[in-house]
Symmetry: C2
Subunit: 232 residues, 2 copies
């Protein structure tokens, strides 16, 4: 439940809660109050309006924004980072944040024209992972690429036309080192100019007759190839 | 586009098409007519009602059912099969069918209380992969497991509590051989009784603070671990 995660990760300014939810989640309400949040009782209908979810749980937390400057997200010698470059769909963004968390990524960077990860759908798709690792945003995707390089990361674009095979020896070697995976938008992938300026472009092998994978499954395959390369 | 795939894969009985779509896709209409389909002009509104999509493309094909008996789907010495056991969400089922196709799977089996893959959302999420590999359904999940064994496949359940690590040497060895991945429903994974009776239960390592992956990303990670094991 995202409210529980929020309480442990970010300052909660205010908690809107229905009577039923307050009874069901008395521990959360106590935790929020102890942390200095204002507790505001609301009706079911008001809670639904606040949370824009189809099946509201009757409890809505208003938190500080979670993102930090790109350089701050990359502090502390990261070894695995996910960059979303022009990812517009909030559900996809949230799902990739969840996968990045599971794969042990040190940060997720939203570059270019990507969705705001505070979007309600992104928060829900991340199932709390939004609060587990540093997030940063910068509209200038090239600046994000440079920041990754400055942090000692090799920039690797997931690209169906990439020159390296994900499971070939060259990709295996580079995935053992510190690197940032760059994933593009749903329709056209990573913009060509950005892909050219990355260090490598890596393709996921497609063995059957599918034309491609969708963004979330492609990101899962790539991020877990990094896990595998570091495990063996 | 799913209609194009359908025309090349399954007998089309009837094609409903708007005037605009007929002009845009004259080749498809010709192909369908040549294949013996009846061509029925419809209004935009009627096409929208037929196809249940939000942005209808004005062309709807009525095909034969695509699924075959389980034994037929497993004919011809399969080496990689995906089993969906109790997967209720059509979008998830379609996405996993797409990933299975991309990973070079020989068949997808829908076991237990799984969604009908002919569901419109499943068809769209599969982006045509539904037509690329044999699909079979059987409500008796144990019978599906036995059929996989009879076809020479090791039955491997994706299970967060599994005894083998996906990237450990034991899993690596078994993924080089013929096997069937068994994936469970969105909420509870593979039912415990079924998981116990499989040959192995394999866990995806979770390195961060995420509790789990969602079904589609977990299936992508597992099916591509099979690709990797066979590539190296």
């Amino acid at each position: 439940m995202a409210v529980r995660e929020a309480l442990s990760a970010a300052p909660v300014h205010e908690l809107f809660v229905t009577d039923a939810a307050a009874a069901r989640h008395a521990d959360l309400v106590g935790l929020a109050a102890a942390g200095g949040a204002r507790i505001s009782p609301v009706t079911d209908r008001a809670a639904a309006g606040l949370s824009d979810t189809v099946t509201p749980q009757g409890i809505v937390a208003v938190c500080s924004l979670l993102d930090v400057p790109v350089a701050a997200a990359l502090a502390g010698r990261p070894t695995l980072v996910a960059v979303l470059a022009g990812v517009a769909d909030p559900g996809n963004a949230g799902t990739v944040i969840r996968v990045a968390d599971a794969a042990g990524a040190d940060a997720v960077l939203l570059a270019g024209n990507s969705v705001d990860p505070h979007n309600g759908k992104a928060v829900r798709a991340s199932t709390g992972s939004l609060f587990h690792l540093p997030l940063a945003r910068d509209r200038d995707a090239m600046a994000v690429l440079e920041a990754c390089r400055d942090a000692g990361l090799t920039a690797v674009v997931a690209d169906p036309g990439g020159e390296l095979d994900l499971y070939g020896p060259a990709a295996d070697a580079l995935l053992r080192g510190p690197h940032a995976w760059v994933f593009g938008g749903e329709a056209h992938g990573v913009e060509a100019g950005l892909a050219r300026r990355a260090d490598h472009r890596v393709r996921i092998p497609i063995l059957g007759r599918a034309e491609s994978l969708n963004l979330a499954t492609a990101a899962a395959v790539c991020l877990y190839a990094s896990v595998a390369a570091r495990t063996r």
